[in-house]
Subunit: 395 residues, 2 copies
C-alpha cells in the first residue's frame, strides 16, 4: 500500500522552496535580474580550478575501472587518509583514516551520525535557530527532536535552557556552527561551556552524551578569524562536513563524518556507519569526486565575495535600525524583522520583489534570513529597494 506518512508530507509546504519558486516565476515576468532573490543557499562562486583540472586529469588517465568502479564499503582509502591528515594539520588533531566515513554531503553525514549514537525513541537536542532539515534527519532515525530556544541576543547557546532539556532520553546534542541561518560562529567560550555541561550531564545520565556538529560552512569565515574546531573541545564528538560550500560542489554530494579519536567506540563508529548505509541504500559518495577532492582537499573557491556581500547587507540593515548579530561566517544573515510576524513581513517584502525567508522554519519567531550567495552587484542594487521597503512600510 502507498505509504500514507510520506504521502501526507506532500501537502506540507516548504516555505523556502515556495519562495524560490515564486522568485523564478516572478523572474519570468519582470526579468530575473529585477528579482532580489535571497532565498536559496546555493553557492554563487565557481569551483576551484584545481578541482576541474583534477577531474579532467583523472578522466584522461583512462583506467576507468579503478576510477569508476565500486569503492570499498567504508570509502576510498586515499581520500580518508588525506582528510585525516588535513584535519590534523589544521586543527592539531590526531585522526586516522579509520575515523573518517565519506558520505553524500553533510546530509548523509548527519543522517549516519544520528543513527550511530541513538536508538529509536531517543531524543536529539537541537539549538534554535537550526537548519530546517534536522527534523527529517532526526525523525528518519526514529528519534525525537527536542528544541532548545534561541538566545536571540547573541545566537550562541542559552545554557540554562540546554541543561533543562537534557534528560534520561537524550542521546546527543546536534549543533551547527558556523550557523545556518544566523551566520554566527560558536565562540571558544560557548564550546567550552557546552563541553562542561555535556561532561557533567553524561555523569548524571550514566552514559556518554554525544555531540554531533554539522559544519559545512567551516571554511567560510569573516574578519580574518579562525573558527574554534568543535571536536577539540569534547571527546564524544562526530563532526559532519561537506565540500558543498567551500568548493561550490553541492550537487556532487561529497562530505564525511569525522569521529573524534578519543570518542567512545571511536574505532567502531565508522564500520557501524557502513552497516547503517546498507539499510539506507547510501553506499558511498561518487568515486571520481572522492578521488578528485582527495589531493586538493584544502583548496577552496574564492570565498571572499561572501564577506563583501555580508558587509554591504549588515551596514544597510543596521543603518535601518534593524537589530542584527554580525555574522562570523557562512553566507547568511539573520536580522530581526520590524514586526513580530516574520511570515507577514516576508510576504510584504515580495511586493518589492525582495525574496526573504521568515525565521519560523528555523525554530525562531520574528527574524528573517537572507542568503547572500548572490552577485555583489545585485546585492548593491537590492539595498535601496530594501531601504524603500522598510521606510515605506515600517517608517
Amino acid at each position: 500500500m502507498i505509504n500514507e506518512t510520506y504521502r501526507a508530507m506532500l501537502g506540507a509546504k516548504n516555505v523556502i522552496r515556495e519562495l524560490s519558486e515564486y522568485a523564478t516565476a516572478r523572474g519570468k515576468e519582470i526579468g530575473y535580474e529585477n528579482v532580489y532573490d535571497f532565498s536559496l543557499g546555493n553557492p554563487s562562486v565557481p569551483v576551484p580550478e584545481a578541482f576541474t583540472e583534477k577531474m579532467i586529469g583523472l578522466l584522461k588517465t583512462g583506467d576507468t575501472m579503478s576510477l569508476h568502479g565500486y569503492t570499498p564499503t567504508l570509502g576510498n582509502a586515499h581520500f580518508k587518509e588525506r582528510v585525516a591528515a588535513s584535519l590534523n594539520k589544521k586543527y592539531g588533531m590526531h585522526y586516522e583514516a579509520k575515523h573518517i566515513f565519506p558520505t553524500t554531503g553533510a546530509a548523509g553525514a548527519v543522517a549516519h551520525a544520528v543513527r550511530a549514537v541513538s536508538a529509536p525513541g531517543d531524543e536529539i537536542i537541537v539549538i534554535a535557530p537550526f537548519f530546517s532539515e534536522y527534523k527529517p534527519y532526526v525523525e528518519g532515525a526514529g528519534c525525537v527532536m527536542r528544541i532548545v530556544a534561541a538566545d536571540t541576543d547573541s545566537f550562541q547557546i542559552d545554557f540554562e535552557l540546554l541543561e533543562k532539556a537534557i534528560g534520561k532520553k537524550t542521546a546527543a546534542v546536534l549543533i551547527n556552527t558556523p550557523n545556518n541561518p544566523s551566520g554566527v560562529v560558536f565562540s571558544k567560550e560557548t564550546l567550552k561551556e557546552l563541553a562542561r555541561i555535556l561532561t557533567k550531564k553524561s555523569e548524571e545520565c550514566g552514559h556518554n552524551l554525544f555531540l554531533i556538529t554539522d559544519e559545512p560552512y567551516r571554511d567560510i569565515l569573516f574578519d580574518k578569524k579562525e573558527a574554534p574546531y568543535v571536536s577539540s573541545f569534547y571527546p564524544h564528538t562526530l563532526s559532519c562536513y561537506s565540500y558543498a560550500k567551500s568548493m561550490s560542489i553541492p550537487g556532487e554530494r561529497l562530505g564525511y563524518v569525522a569521529v573524534q579519536p578519543d570518542c567512545e567506540a571511536a574505532d567502531e563508529i565508522v564500520p557501524m556507519c557502513g552497516q547503517i548505509s546498507r539499510g539506507l541504500g547510501h553506499n558511498c559518495p561518487p568515486s571520481i569526486i572522492m578521488q578528485a577532492v582527495a589531493d586538493i582537499c584544502d583548496e577552496t573557491s574564492d570565498l571572499s565575495v561572501y564577506e563583501t556581500n555580508m558587509n554591504i547587507i549588515y551596514d544597510t540593515v543596521t543603518a535601518l535600525g534593524l537589530s542584527c548579530v554580525r555574522p562570523g561566517g557562512t553566507f547568511y544573515i539573520f536580522p530581526k524583522a520590524p514586526e513580530e510576524d516574520a511570515v507577514a513581513f516576508c510576504k510584504k517584502a515580495t511586493e518589492y520583489d525582495l525574496i526573504l525567508v521568515p525565521s519560523d522554519g528555523f525554530g525562531v519567531k520574528g527574524f528573517f534570513r537572507m542568503a547572500y550567495c548572490v552577485d555583489t552587484k545585485k546585492v548593491e542594487r537590492a539595498m535601496p529597494v530594501l531601504r524603500r521597503f522598510i521606510t515605506e512600510v515600517y517608517g
Copy 2:
C-alpha cells in the same frame, strides 16, 4: 548511546567480502594472476568512450555553477526526460519525466521504492535466490522480508509457494531479473503469471499489491535475446535500474526508480521519494554524472565479454556433470555444488585457489555463484583448475 543494533552487526560475517579479502591476501602471496577470484560483481570492462568524452566536455564548458550546483529535489529535469524517452522507445511504454526518480544506484532505488509502497511492519516478499542486500533494504524500511523458496529446476518462480506467501500484511513483491546470483531472466510466461496472481491477490487483499523490480543487469543479455520488460506486464510496478553494470560505473552511484504510468498514485510516488530522501540524507545522485549520462543513456560498455565468459564456464561445469541452468544474462552463473554443503564445497575450492561463493546467502542451499566479470584469459586458465578440483575431490 552507541546504537547496539548496528554495533552487533559488526560481528556478523559477510561471506562474499571475506572471500574477496581472502583472495586479495592470497594474491599477495602467490600473485593475484594465480588466484581465480570469481567472488565480486565489479564490472571488468571499460566505460563507454562516450561517457568519458561527455564528462570532459562538461568540465570544459566552465559553467561550474550549473554543472556542480544543487540539482532539483526530484532530480535533473533533462536526465529524467531522456530516461523516460529511452524507456518509451525501447519498451513501448509511456513514461513522462515525472515518473522518473534519480537515485544513488539501484541500492538507493530499491531503498526508496520499498518505503514508498509499504508501512513499517508490512511484509515484502522476495523470491529465492535473491540479492543478499535485500534484507537490509527491507528491514531498513521497518518491514519484514518473507522468502519464497527457489524453483531450483529453472530459477523462475514457484507460483504455488508465492500464492501461499501472499497475505494481509503483504505490501509488495520484490524481484530481480536478470537475476543475481542465477543469471536467469524471468520469461514472458513467468511475468504474465506473476501479474495474474498479483491482480487476483490484490482483489482478495482489498488493496493493490506492488511489484518492485530490481533490474541493474537489464542490458546484459545473451543469445541475442531481448528480456521482457517487467513493468509492461503489471501496472503497479516500480522499476529500479542502475548504470553500474551497463556502463561500468558502479562507483559513481547513478540509477533511478521508474514508476509505471498506470500505477496507483503514479503522479505521487516520485514526490514521495523526494520526501523519503530527506530522512535518509540521500538528496540526489551526483550532478555531473546525471548530466553526462543524460545524453548517452542508451550507450553501454562492450558487454560481449560476459557472454564469452559465460559460455566457457557453462560448457565446463556441464561437462563436469554439474547441474546448471544456462544464464540468460548478467555476469553470474549458479551451478549445483557436487555436495549438499555449499559452504564446505567453496572452502575446499579455495585450496585450489578458486574463489567461489556459496549459495546460502542468496536464500538457497547447495549451489555456488561464480561472478565472471573477469578477464577471459583468466577464465580460460581457471577451467583446468576447476576440472582438477571437481575430479580430484568429487570424482
